[in-house]
Every structure is written in C-alpha cells, then in structure tokens.
Amino acid sequence: MRRNAPVMLGGVRRLLDVDIDGTTHRVPEGSTILDVLRDQDIDTPTLCYLGNLTPVNACRVCMVEVDGSRVLVPSCSRRVEDGMVVKTDTDRVRHSRKMVLELLASSTDMSLAEDAVHRWMDDYQVDVKRYGPPGPPAGAGERDRRQAGHHHVTDGMTAETVAQPTKVDNELYVRDYARCILCYKCVEACGEDAQNTFAIAVAGRGFDATIATEFDVALPDSACVYCGNCIGVCPTGALMPKSEYDMRQAGTWDESRQDQVTTVCTFCGVGCNLELTTQDNRIVRVDSPIDHSVTHGHLCIKGRFGYSHVQPD
C-alpha cells in the first residue's frame, strides 16, 4: 500500500485492534505492521522497503516479534490482524537487526548509504571488525561468471565481500555493485513496479547473486531505456548518475555547496515534479519526490537526464 498517495475515498475499512509494545492501536484493515509503526513514530530500520514499490521483504532488517509466530516477522509486508500482539524492542528483534546490518556492512561498501542507515548502524552497535579484514575485490566481470552451486573455499582469515570494479558503460549512469545490498528495488523499478522494461534481473545464486543484464552485456546492448528509476530507488549509492560519479571521482562533489530546487519538468504535459540538486549554480543530479502524486518518484530519460541544454559546457 502506498503511503502519501493522493486521497481517494475507497471502501469503508474495518478497524482492527493491534497491540504494539503494550499499547493498543485501532488501525484500518489492510495496513501493514510497518504502516502502524511509522504512524506511531516507532523508528524501524528498512532497506529493501520503499513506499512506491511492492515489498519483497528480502533484507530482513524491519523484523518484529509477533505473538504466536515461531520466527520473527517482516513488518513491511505482514498485514495486521485483529488482536495481533507486536513487540518491536525485544532482544531477539535487536539482535536480528544488528546482525543483518552487520552482515551487510561486512560484505558491502555502505559508505554512501542513506543517512538513516548510518544512524541505525550506530544505534544497533554494528561491529564489522569481528569478521576479519575485508577479502580481496573480484576482477571485472568475475562475480558475474560464477557458476551456481560452486565456490572456492577461502582460508577464513578475511571476510568475503562483493567488492568489484564499477561498471561504467554509458554517459548517463554507473553501476557500482561493490555497494549493492541486493535489495531488489532496482529490479522492481525497472520491471513491474514502474518502468516495465525488464532490462535487469537478479542472476546467479546465493552470495554470488548479482543484478545483471542478460550475459552481463553493457547497458547500451541491453533493453535499458535510461529512465534512471533504478537510481531513484537505490538505497546505497550503487547506482548513480554519471555526473555525480565523475564529480565524486574528481573530488568536487561537495554537499555543503549544494541546493535542492523543486520544479516542474518542461518536456511534456504530464507535469512531473523534479527535484534538482545544484552545485555552483549547475544541475548535478535530478530526482523526483517519492510522495509526488504524478511520478511517485519515477521519471523518464528526459526528465532525469535531459538538462544539458540549460547549462551548455
């Protein structure tokens, strides 16, 4: 269910009694546990969840304890039931959240993750050192060629990671899968939840699973239409406009000198809101607000990348 969606008057919904950490709340039938937690301002970490996508509950960081369930329950996708008793701050919950964040941080470069992710990593006292120093990065394309069901056993003295070179194969955006936590959001945005292009999918299996085009072909050879909606949903900076990537490489990306400007896209009559990130009076990145009723955060190639005409080099 979409939060912040336009107000449409739907059918009458029954109110259910749900107990959250000892307090009973009346919530509409069909809400997820996470909806209730967010309404109550109970801080709940999420990574693979986004209001404009179907929950895949793959990251397992939003877990809560529900009475009667033998294992923890993903709050992002479990719908509330009448009389449900939910606990969000037990040892089991805290342990699972901490471990999930720790496992991700020990295998993935989280340095560009959203601020909230860093706050949660501090809150849950994530310590990646106990897994050993990070293992050596894989060569270009090496992780994409691994055969399912086979891996080389290491000596255990280093922690295996997903580190690998950034894929730069076009002028619009780059894919740095060393930062990829496999949250499935980009696949959803490219496919059923937004663009219906299906240029990328999850390939491989287990720890060697990757986000890939067919045969790992470069994006210009794939079905990609460069809408960049995958960039818009990526929580860790694995997908990034080339403009931002180049500036970061050159060391000129400076958030203290940046402004956010909201405007309306001028290309067609749909009226998508644009959120321009500018630095030194130049556009360096374009997004759309996730709560905008027209775009739900998604754009097309023109809206996201078609701005060079306002700032010729």
Binding site: L72, D155, A223
Partner: protein, 641 residues
C-alpha cells in the same frame, strides 16, 4: 511487452533445440517468418504469449541437453518464443547448477563429495583424478557436486551428457563408482554398474510387515501389468468408491503426518485445499529430494513408480485437482525415466487423463525436472521454479493451500507422504493409525548411510528407537567405535549416545530438541574428522542459499569462514570469540531467514558444538545457540527443503 534482444541471432541448431519442444513458430512475434498480410490484421503477444512462461525451465533443459550450454543466441530465441525478457531468462538460467551460461564441454561428471560420500572414499576418488575440478580435457570435465542421493552406495557420480554430433545421450548416475570408471566416461566411454539393492529388508529373508516397500524387489518397475498383478490400482478403485469426502475422512482419521520434514497433518492440508473456493486447484508432488543423506524417495520412485502415480491420482480426486505436477530433482535420471514411462503407460490405459478409470473424473499428471537447486525443495520455491521464475521462496502467508502454484489453492506433498495414502485408502484411516504411536501413525522410511554395516532404506513403525535402527542396519561398519550420529540430514542435529533410546517419532524427537527431518541417519566412526564434515555442510548451505534474504545469503558465508578458522586452528581473535560469533549467526539465521533453508543452516553445527563434538570447544561453551531449531513445528504450514 516489447522485448529488446541483443543482436545475437540463434543458429539453426539453437532454433532446432527450442523448436523441438515448442514446435515451429507460427508468428513473427515468436521468431517465425514475417507474413505482412497476416500481421496487418492480427496482433500477437500479450497474455497468451506470456502464459507460456512455465515452459521456461523445460526448454532451458532442452537447450542445455542439445548444446551442452545455454548460448546467447539460444537464450534470445527462448526469450522471444516465450515472451520473457532476456534478462529474466538469464536470471533463471544462472540460478541452477545443472545449467551453464558459459560454454561447457558436452560431458560433465558431477562427483559427489558431500558428507555421506566423504565418509566412503569420495575424497580419495577425487584425488585419483588426473584433472582438476572444472578443467576441460577432450570435451569433458568433472566438478564437485552436493549430495546426489545415492548415499547407500557411496561414492557416487552423476554424468550430464549433452548431444554429440546430433546423437542424443542419456544422463545417468551411478554408485559405487571408481576413479577409473569416471575417467572412462570422461574419455567418451560408458560404465555399467549394478549396485546392490537399496532396501536390505527386501532381501532374503524378507522382513515382515512392509507397507511402503512391499512391492520393492518384487514388482517390475517398468510394467503397469506387473504393478496391477501386485495389487496396483486397487487403492484408486476403492478411492473412487469412497468419493472425495470419503477419502478425506480416511486420510484425516489416519492422522498421517507429512514426511517432508515439517510434519504437518496431511488430512488438515487436504481438507484446506478441497474446500478452497477458488478454482482450479493444483496438486504438486515434491520429489526434489536433495537433503544430504536422503534417498528414500528416490528408491520408492525407481522401484515402484506406479505407486506414486496412483497415489497422486487419489490425492487429485480427493482435493479437486485436475492437474498435478511431479517435480523431481534433476540429479535423478533413472527415477525420471521410470516415472515418465509410468505416466505414459497410465495415460495410455485410461488411468490418467480425461476419464480416470471410467469415473468421469479428470486428472492429468506432468513431470517437471529440477536443474540442481536444493532450495527448490522448499515448497514455494518449487512453485516459482515450475512457473518459470527463479527458485526463490515466497513469504508466507499466504500459504499454498490458499495461494500456491499460479496463485491458486495448491496441495503439495512429499513422495513418501503420498505413497502412504495408498495404505490409508486400502485399509481405512483408523486401521492405519493403529501402527506407530498415538501422534505419529504408520511406518517411516529411514535412510541409513555413512559408516554403517548395511546402508539403505529401512521401513519401521514409528516408535522404533535410534538404537534399534542401528542394530537393524548391523551397527557401525567393521565394528569400529561410533563417533557421532546425525539425524535429519544437513539441516538436522547430532544425537548423543544417551539419547539413542529416544523413540523416533515426531513428538519423541521434538522432546530432545531434534527432528526426524527427512529420515536421515548418518553414522560417523572414530576415523572421521568431524570438523571437515561440518565445514562441508557449511559449504553446502553457502552454495545452495538462493541469495534472496540477508541472514542466509551472507550468514552462510560468515558461518563457513568461521568454521574454516576453527578447523585450521587460526582463530580471528580467539576460538571463544569465533564460537560466540557462530552462535550469534545461528540466532539471526533461525529468526530472520525467509525459509527453512536459512533457518536450519546452523542447526547441525550448533548441536555438534553443544555436544562437545568439535575439538577444542567445550560442550558447555556459553556462546553456543541451544535454542530450539524452529522447524518441524506445526504452527505454520511450512515444508522444509
């Protein structure tokens, strides 16, 4: 949807491989010739084209068989024929161990080095090869494989043989196998081994009171007539007399519990599907038996295939399913051949199809092969696999009885569970329930392997103790001292000697914090390096994790790394810290993984640590996770892989 296909055109051979399965394309949309006159009036694609997605895995199998790998041209052609985006076809093809998207020689030997084969010389076998894992020589290579389900004759190998010069070659698996025999097949030759029987109880003197095994060794598995001579299809006749409601009543009264590992009451499941308002209903037989050390279903399917076909027909009748899928693991070529033949014979005789036994009831049965993925034994992953998606488990609820295969109410049962239904129907529910114990009724198949004198499948009434099982199988091989017993497979637990008198029932094992799982009893004598066994199990789970959820995807990697450190004695910090870390990993995998694979991945290791079986770690170490393994509980309808 529009497909954008990279400019790799299929060769004539690649087209032929796909067309052999799907027929010649009739429209330009599906890759045929252009007919401008026709295309000006008619549009193709859309829902009809997309509805064929469930054919994806069978077609990928066909391409792999024909070419030895899945090339980019053939992948594009498959995508076009089925209207599936090429990235998704690639995602599915790279999910399975038996499919390869990189060129591979036509002959591939999968040599098992898993826990049961490891105790019977698999490593020595591998050491004797003159090529390394994955090294190509003269159009052939060998790779290490997880358990091939031939544990009673270990060591085992499975040969995946693609066509050579247009000549089809059938896959086959064999055990016990020698390095010379593997070498012979890699050189283009052939081996014929006739393994001894897999069911010691059916050899003279034949044991009394066998139910599930009663036809094994007696009936000709290739002959429907012989099956009928031995009482075959009397249960279906009786079921048709009883009608759906009657069969449901008998199954419920029998208190039959699912044998796939989760021990869910079969009657409850059947009732739920039978009464589900949405139609059509689907039936699935889960024959993706991949738990290391498990081979009971293989033995049933190879030796008495018609029994499973008959049992599925009864299940379909009782629950209103007109279509059944038999999903068998890809590494079982002999069982696949026997079942394919059995289904064809039963269809030809009107025992399957439009009008089963003249009753007016319709039931069609289709066999689907897995392609090397343990995770597809998890029921919802199996459904995704049949539908042509990656074999990733779904979140539950909704449960399959409500929304399963193709989103419809689905009954999914294990092979052994279904075969039990024949007896339930032939006698009646209460009579069936007289065997076994109050809560665990009937008989149970156990798979004894490892260091055991007479390995094989044994059928005993529920309530038999572990000690009695070991005696039945002749005890430890060569009379050596016993080091450890693993109950329930890689996802099971080690059992200490003082608990050998525990009755092997669902409730009895639950009391001691163990579970029957798939009925594996694996013995390790005093010569076994148990840390090596545990490390192999950890590697197994790392290989077989689907990668969807973080606790399992990364947790299994970290678990393996920590175990390798324990085994090599080079701790990261201290041994105690590594044991603590393993305990913490165990908790998150159990609590937060999506499915049973991740939830049980640390179980055997933690039980070994708790029992003090790991050298250098005391049995009372505080960091060991001794909380109950969250499987086999009946509060959630969850079948474990």
């Amino acid at each position: 949807m529009d497909l954008y296909l990279k400019h790799a055109e299929p060769t004539a051979e690649e087209r032929a491989a796909v067309d052999a399965e799907l027929g010649v394309p009739t429209t330009r949309w599906a890759g045929g010739d252009r007919d401008r006159a026709e295309e000006s009036r008619v549009s193709y694609g859309g829902r009809d084209a997309r509805a064929q997605r469930h054919l994806l895995l069978p077609i990928l199998h066909a391409v792999q068989k024909r070419l030895g790998w899945i090339s980019d041209g053939s992948l594009n052609y498959v995508a076009r024929r089925l209207t599936v985006p090429p990235a998704e076809v690639y995602g599915v093809a790279t999910f399975y161990a038996m499919l390869s998207t990189q060129q591979r020689p036509p002959t591939v030997a999968h040599v098992c080095d898993d826990i049961a084969c490891r105790t019977n010389g698999a490593l020595e076998l591998i050491d004797a090869f003159d090529t390394t894992d994955g090294e190509v020589r003269d159009g052939a290579m060998w790779v290490r494989s997880p358990c091939l389900g031939l544990c009673e004759h270990a060591p085992a190998a499975m040969f995946q043989l693609a066509d050579v010069d247009g000549r089809p070659r059938a896959d086959f698996a064999t055990a016990p196998v020698t390095a010379a025999q593997v070498g012979a097949v890699l050189d283009g030759g052939w081996v014929v081994t006739e393994p001894p029987g897999s069911t010691p109880q059916t050899q003279a003197p034949r044991a009394e009171g066998l139910r599930l095994l009663r036809r094994i060794g007696v009936v000709d598995p290739d002959s429907l007539d012989d099956y009928r001579r031995h009482g075959g299809y009397t249960a279906l006749r009786r079921a048709l007399q009883l009608g759906p409601a009657g069969v449901l009543r008998e199954v419920t009264d029998s208190k039959l519990m699912g044998r796939g590992g989760a021990a869910f009451p079969t009657g409850v499941k059947w009732q739920a599907v039978a009464s589900a308002p949405a139609h059509p209903h689907y039936l699935i037989c889960n024959a993706d038996e991949s738990e290391p050390g498990t081979f009971k279903d293989r033995v049933l399917m190879e030796s008495d295939p018609f029994a499973l076909v008959e049992a599925m027909t009864i299940a379909g009748l009782a629950t209103g399913c007109e279509r059944g899928y038999l999903y068998i693991r890809g590494e079982y070529p002999l069982a696949t051949a026997r079942l394919t033949s059995a289904i064809a014979q039963a269809s030809a005789r009107g025992l399957l199809g439009e009008d089963v036994m003249g009753s007016g009831m319709r039931f069609e049965l289709e066999l689907r092969r897995g392609a090397g993925a343990y995770i597809c034994g998890e029921e919802t992953a199996l459904m995704n696999s049949i539908e042509g998606y990656r074999g990733e488990p779904r979140n539950k609820p909704p449960f399959p009885t409500v929304a399963g295969l193709f989103g419809q109410p689905t009954l999914i049962n294990n092979v052994e569970t279904l075969v039990n239904v024949l007896d339930v129907v032939l006698t009646n529910g209460p009579a069936y329930a007289e065997v076994g114990t109050e809560k665990s009724t009937g008989t149970k198949l156990f798979c004894l392997s490892g260091h055991v004198e007479r390995p094989g499948v044994y059928e005993v009434p529920f309530g038999t103790t572990l000690r009695e099982m070991l005696d039945l199988a002749g005890g430890v091989k060569d009379g050596r001292p016993l080091q450890a017993v693993l109950l329930g497979g890689a996802a099971g637990t080690f059992i200490p000697e003082e608990q050998f008198d525990t009755p092997l029932t669902f409730e009895g094992t639950r009391e001691i914090g163990a579970s029957l799982g798939s009925g594996v009893i694996l013995l390790f004598d005093d010569t076994v390096d148990l840390l090596d066994v545990l490390t192999r199990m950890a590697a197994f789970f790392r290989d077989e994790s689907c990668g969807q959820c973080v606790p399992c995807r990364v947790g299994t990697v970290r678990q393996e790394e920590a175990l390798v450190r324990l085994a090599s004695g080079s701790a990261n910090g201290s041994t105690a810290a590594d044991v603590d870390l393993l305990g913490e990993l165990s908790l998150v995998m159990k609590d937060a993984s999506i499915c049973g694979l991740g939830q049980t991945a640390p179980a055997a290791l933690q039980s070994a640590l708790a029992l003090g079986l790991v050298p250098g770690v005391d049995s009372g170490h505080p960091g060991v996770d001794t909380s109950r393994t969250p499987e086999s509980s009946t509060d959630e309808k969850q079948e474990r892989p």
